[in-house]
């Protein structure tokens, strides 16, 4: 079987090969820009990983519901940003998200599912809005969006994967320490956003 899969792979990639693009502002640059955008800021990264960590602590169904809710609501926030609708205190909201989610992981807080969803969704709006207003001109919207959502989702999945250490006693402690670190960074980001 593997003897046939490899040539088929090579053939597919050859058939689908595109022209070499020397200019970085070409439409095809949208995918990599989108992929890079969510990981370009530590505040975004920490908050998104913290969503996965918290989901893992909360267990089923939060372990997958939180990472599902975040990208959808974040896209809604990005839509608002794209349409030019103002949202006050975006930077403060993003910093507060890292702080609040870090505190939740640190304290292993287990609220009702609806509360956790509303909280994650609320902060997702700020992250999305920031991304929506910062979208670069002259890129392919479709490819940018695909890269953007894939990167965000991957950060959540990474958080969930790390959070799976929660099943071991030492892992629980490590996870709470990680939450504390996220919260500490959140404090720093909040101080920077306010100052």
């Amino acid at each position: 079987m593997k003897h046939t899969v490899v040539p088929i792979t090579a053939l597919l990639l050859l058939v689908l090969s595109n022209e070499a693009l020397a200019h970085t502002d070409h439409d095809a640059g949208g995918f990599t820009s989108g992929l890079y955008h969510p990981i370009s800021g530590l505040d975004h990264v920490l908050a998104m990983v913290a969503v996965g960590l918290w989901g893992a602590q909360l267990g089923k169904p939060s372990i997958w519901l939180l990472p599902v809710a975040f990208p959808i609501v974040m896209s809604l926030g990005a839509l608002l940003g794209l349409l030019g609708m103002p949202l006050p205190g975006v930077e403060i909201g993003i910093a507060a998200s890292a702080l609040a989610l870090g505190v939740m992981v640190l304290g292993e807080v287990k609220p009702r599912l609806a509360v956790a969803l509303v909280m994650v969704g609320f902060f997702a709006i700020f992250h999305g809005h920031a991304h929506g207003t910062e979208l670069p001109e002259g890129q392919s919207g479709v490819l940018y969006s695909i890269g953007f959502v894939l990167a965000t989702g991957t950060l959540h999945v990474s958080g969930v994967a790390i959070g799976l250490v929660h099943r071991w006693p030492a892992g629980r402690v490590a996870l709470r320490f990680a939450g504390g670190a996220v919260a500490a960074f959140g404090c720093f980001f909040l101080w920077r956003a306010i100052a």
Binding site: K2, V15, A28, W64, S75, G132, Y144, V149
Partner: protein
Amino acid sequence: MMPRARHLAGATFLIVLMWPSVALAHLMSTGFGPFYDGMAHLFVTPVDLMAVLAVGMLAGLRGAKPGRWALFGITTSWLIGGTVGLCVEADATPLVIGAAAGPFVVGLAVALDLRLPLAATTSIAALVGAGFGLLNGLSLRATGADSLPLLGITAAVFVCVTLIAAATVRVTRDRDWRRIAVRVAGSWITAISLLMIGWMLKTGV
């Protein structure tokens, strides 16, 4: 299939999906003729591919029977919509946002794992197929193409929905987490579609 070969096939599929390419109003040239140009068109048009993915997953989540009905629903309506698009003179621009709304709605239904009746699943598949087919037909007409590329696109849609729906039925049968993975994929399609709609509204398509 051997596990390694299966992983390789999965990685290939992912690479093909993520392969960065420009959204082309004109068909890409494979060198094999218009039918194969049409087949390739689906794989280099992310919006169309997302719609096909979403419909396949939605139908597959409901089981084999809805999968079969959705398969024939989307393929037939794609062909009919495309034929209409080839025959009429119209501006395709307003349809583009509607087309992005298709994967949004279907992706949301996948994410929520909505227990839709057979008629609803088939109707959604048919609606999505008709919309995208019409858009393809209008675009093909604008480029002066004949019906062969449309047949190629429809054949590719048929193959893709068959594979995706069948794979979804198979992988979600035993394991809960695999069903969750499909639902997560649905949420990602929803998020991407929403962003695309925003982008289209911002740029005026």
